[in-house]
């Protein structure tokens, strides 16, 4: 299995994805400052309340982050999974004396690990930069307490898992049509839907946990269905 993971890494141009993840990270850094400054631009606007204080900004920021990394994960799943099983590549892949199931799971593992690592790394870096700059010259009213940091860490973790799950679910939808655009569009639609749900229930900690668990369960289910399909696929 380790060998199969290494092979997947070797076959993909992983540098492209590292660059993409870095670009997303830089944009997200811009977003967090945008949120922080938002109430200062129109102090009287009641809509700006959603950006008031760290406890509002951080979950909002995490949601946007999840949106971005979901898209990255669906692009990666398109390239690494859909493209390999949709085109003539499959003829080559299936003529090897290796279990089809293991190859498929190796692909999922590579993308999942990459996206989770990339999202957590980006968020930690962004929070560190933002935290330092806030302690030097604060933009947001309020104090950074341990509770806020703890919550930011938890939300980041759950949302990174959700980002992967959204990628997996859109990959399954794209797989039915064997189409890359379908995969990416599905992920945009799923994300828009989910961001609304999450943004609506931002104050409740348990909401994000339940929401992640549901997504993971659906992912496991669709991976199972896809594995069975791939096992009896004819090319």
């Amino acid at each position: 299995m380790v060998n199969l993971l290494k092979l997947e890494l070797k076959k993909t141009n992983i540098r492209t994805y590292i660059i993409s993840a870095s670009i997303i990270g830089i944009c997200m850094l811009g977003i967090i400052y945008l949120f922080a400054y938002a109430p200062k631009i129109e102090p009287k606007d009641p809509d700006m309340k959603m950006f008031a204080g760290y406890e509002n900004i951080i979950p909002l920021f995490n949601t946007i982050c999840m949106f971005a990394f979901s898209l990255l994960s669906s692009v990666m799943f398109s390239k690494i999974v859909i493209e390999e099983y949709a085109g003539k590549r499959t003829t080559l892949l299936f003529s090897y004396p290796v279990s089809r199931r293991k190859v498929f799971l190796a692909k999922i593992a590579v993308v999942s690990l990459f996206v989770v690592t990339a999202m957590i790394t980006s968020c930690i870096s962004i929070f560190t930069i933002f935290g330092i700059s806030e302690s030097i010259s604060p933009v947001v009213d309020g104090n950074i307490t341990f509770e806020i940091i703890n919550r930011a860490a938890k939300t980041t973790f759950y949302m990174s898992i959700s980002a992967v799950s959204v990628g997996i679910i859109s990959m399954a939808i794209g797989f039915i049509k064997k189409s890359i655009p379908t995969t990416i569009i599905s992920s945009v639609l799923l994300c828009s839907l989910l961001s609304n749900i999450v943004a609506g229930s931002i104050s409740a900690d348990s909401a994000i946990i339940i929401f992640t668990i549901i997504l993971v369960l659906i992912s496991v289910l669709v991976i199972n269905i896809m594995t069975r399909k791939i096992n009896c696929m004819e090319v």
Partner: protein, 245 residues
Amino acid sequence: MDYESAVKISGLVKTFNQKEVIRNCNMTVSKGRVYGLLGVNGAGKTTIFKLLLGLLHPTAGHIEIFSEDIRISKNKILRDVGSMIETPIFYEHLSAIENLEIHLSYMGIQNTDIQKTLGIVGLQNIGNQPVSQFSLGMRQRLGIARAIIHHPKLLILDEPINGLDPVGIREMRELFQELVKKHDMTILVSSHILSEIEQISDVIGIIVDGSIVEEIELASIEKDFADGLEEYFFSIVNGGMKHSG
């Protein structure tokens, strides 16, 4: 002459959307021979090869490779088979050497002389350029290199000569003879071009509408039909047409 068989197909049927593409097909490939599968476009050559590799599941019938059933011992069989089906596909952004390394890794083989194999197919000085920059002929050669590098006992090549020039065809013939003699391989090639098959194979199987209608030693055709294979082929194909109405 009596040879042990490397491939044995009996009563094979394959239908796609209720259409019988392979019908009651029987085929025997003896060990250590170059078997040429000859048939017009759409006769079912690629389909038979895909069935042999377990890429398609037979609707009915049996396939044995080295006396093992492909449905039962697929992975065991695949370790001993090298193949190239239609146009070979590569990881375009990687070099020839990297493509071969990935292949060997999937095959579970280490310590193989990649440069030597590249030399055998006439790709010695290709450097590290990505495969996306290769010409059609170079791709074909790399595809053959990939099919033989893990020392398979059975080599299955679907229209391997597409895109090769006359010199290339001659080199392939010599390569096939060498692989059979020195490495104990059995080779199964397909083509729709008579003259190619005639130049490279020992035995010819003629496939008409998804069924092999004749399997014959090339030497015996040359003896009995003064006009050679072409005359023979047309007599078979036309006969086959009449039978099937």
